[in-house]
Amino acid sequence: MKMKKTLSLLLASALSLSLLAGCGGGNGGQSTGGSQPSGGSTSQGAPSGSGKQYDGVTLTMWSMWSSGEPQANVIEEAAAAFEAQTGAKVNIEFKGRDVNKVLTASLESKEKIDIIEDDYQRIANTYPNILDLTDMAKAVNYDSWSYACLNNQVIEWVGHLNSIVEQPQVGGVFYDKDAFSKAGITAEPKTWAEFLTVCQQLKDAGIAPIAQDSAYCNFAFYHQLVRYLGEDKVTELDMNGGWSGTKAEQAAQDIIDLIGKGYFVDGAPDEFPASENKIGFGQAAMIVCANYVTAEVNMQTGTEVNWGLFTYPAVDGGVDNASAYGGANSLAVTSYSENAQAAFDFIIFLTTGEFDQKMADTAAQIPADSRNKAPAALNGTVETLLAADKPMSWCAGINANADLKDTIKSMCVELFEGKYATGADFCKALDALY
């Protein structure tokens, strides 16, 4: 009987242990970087004796990419090169796009992470325990090759620089240069009047001027609103109502006029990515989006569109006729990292020179190092970002009201569907929500 009792206790213990083992170590991502345990962030291993700067240092990076993606491949390659050069091993855990769902909790509990990778706005405004990188950045003269508009934005949000740009983004009107040539258009439009002329020329040449997916209707209309009113005013109206009687009516009317003149491609606003693909198929010429649209369209349609970019046109009487959407995926160091300098050095290693160029070329992205060259599909993007003073946000003004943002998004789609007879009607419908 004693034997039976011991056996039952052993079985119960084994069950408990196996359950606990199952619960533990739930990092959820794919880890690379050899057989190091994923939790081992900044453990000091035995020096290899090769005398390199960071011998024995192990860094842990949580990436927003999934293993096998072009960006992930470049990061892995850079980590291997960094280890060979400095002796520091970088364990990369590819968490995928939903890394933001687990980062806050992990950083709050000071999980052993040295480097995180995510949207720069979230790094600035959401995540705890992020290191101030101002001094480190100064020491490497970061300002000399990075984009001031993005850095300034981070400083405005946080009060200091807490992330290093890895994959910058810029928005505006992306267009097919060949379609412009075919229509005899020689100069990019700078004003709304010039834009309308370009649209007519394209239409006359048998090319639909504008592609529009419903997923980006709010983003496209936001540009027009910001031109007329500026982001602060849009945010104020979004929170409190009072759209009627403002220039928002004219902004909406401009979109309605575009529909009336037949400047949108057949089917617009279409379900993403059907409409943007029409640029790849040679059926449409322009789209208001961010730079990733070029890679998306090229990949989805199997073509190499001869892309160009111009800043969203200025409108008559507009209060913000120059800003362009700017954003970034950035890298940051945790404030509790035991090897912050090594982590920062790896970030700079990855976002400058050879590996930044490789990232730009293989993942079709804007280089983080402005001394590098953008891929052909993104010609003009580096210059646009360097020239920008303050970036426009991703619809922050019309997303400010959490209770209404979904309804307003749908109303923006309806606006592009031609459901409103006038801009005044649209604004009246908006005001009815408050």
Binding site: M1, L15, N100, S109, T126, A215, Y216, D270, D406, S410
Partner: protein
């Protein structure tokens, strides 16, 4: 006997511990959180500030939440009627002795083994597509004008239809297992008495399937309240009011969205509590409706 009791206790311990740690604790914490102002879902209780029923007032005063509840109700009622009726029809057909029973059963169940992401992509890109989608090809074949199946007017119904397509097979299997459990003698006796197939269905199959139907309604209610992925697929980038459901509202509240960094875990918890109460209410109502009607055979 005493020793046996101890053994039972020790064997139950792992399961009990797991239940308490992984189920009871999160549920209690969520309920508690719904009465506090909490920004981050992982914030320590020291950072919570008491808010009373503030979170509940907030969500029930929110246009987005009320729209999401309306959408969920429509999916539950309309989707439920179509899904459960179609599943019943197919289950009865498949078990009626037709040839190729295994093939039909596998074919109807197939959408359940395909990833919902792939299924939704197929519907969006190949069935509803404006230019080359199957539906518009049929419409044009009959001389009609192309329809914007994914425009703001029809998107909700397009999404619900796709969801029904993906769900029917699952409920059909439940019904098949119920029907196959009914003794054949009953049908044989009914046939000898001159009852037709319709009479057999209404007087034998349906009454004896009440228990299974009760389970189906509960499962459907859970499926509807946890509806998430189809909305994400039908409104990528940003949520739209035509496809929003409470879980999406909760998700946006707790984690923010594209370009949105404000979070409200307290309101998210309140949404979670409301959804749980809805499921409990539906379960209790269903129990009452089918009470005392259990037939033994």
């Amino acid at each position: 006997m005493r020793k046996n009791k101890a053994m039972i206790f020790w064997f139950c311990m792992p399961a009990l511990l797991s239940l308490v740690l992984m189920f009871v604790y999160p549920v209690c914490r969520t309920v508690l959180m719904s009465f506090f102002r909490v920004e981050s879902v992982t914030a320590t209780m020291a950072d919570w500030s008491f808010y009373g029923l503030g979170n509940y007032t907030k969500i029930f005063g929110s246009t987005s939440f009320m729209t999401s509840m309306k959408n969920m109700l429509l999916i539950w009622i309309v989707g439920g009627v179509f899904t459960l009726a179609l599943a019943m029809l197919m289950a009865v057909t498949v078990t009626s002795g037709i040839r190729g029973k295994k093939f039909f059963r596998a074919a109807i169940y197939m959408p359940n083994i395909i990833s919902a992401v792939a299924l939704a992509t197929m519907w969006i890109q190949y069935i509803f597509n404006y230019d080359y989608g199957m539906l518009n090809t049929i419409v044009q074949f009959f001389g009609g004008d192309k329809i914007k199946w994914l425009g703001t007017d029809l998107k909700f119904w397009a999404m619900t239809g796709s969801f029904i397509f993906g769900s029917v097979g699952y409920y059909m299997l439940i019904y098949i297992s119920g029907i196959e459990g009914i003794p054949q003698d009953l049908y044989e006796a009914a046939t000898i008495d001159g009852a037709g197939k319709v009479h057999q269905f209404t007087h034998i199959t349906l009454p004896l399937l009440k228990g299974v139907m009760k389970t189906s309604v509960t499962f459907w209610s859970i499926n509807t309240t946890t509806f998430f992925l189809w909305t994400k697929m039908f409104s990528p980038i940003d949520t739209e009011s035509s496809t929003i459901v409470p879980v999406i509202y909760l998700y946006d509240m707790v984690f923010g969205g594209k370009g949105i960094t404000t979070r409200d875990a307290g309101a998210g918890a309140a949404v979670g509590v409301v959804l749980t109460l809805i499921i409990i209410a539906v379960y209790l109502i269903t129990e009452q409706l089918f009470k005392g009607n259990d037939l033994e055979y």
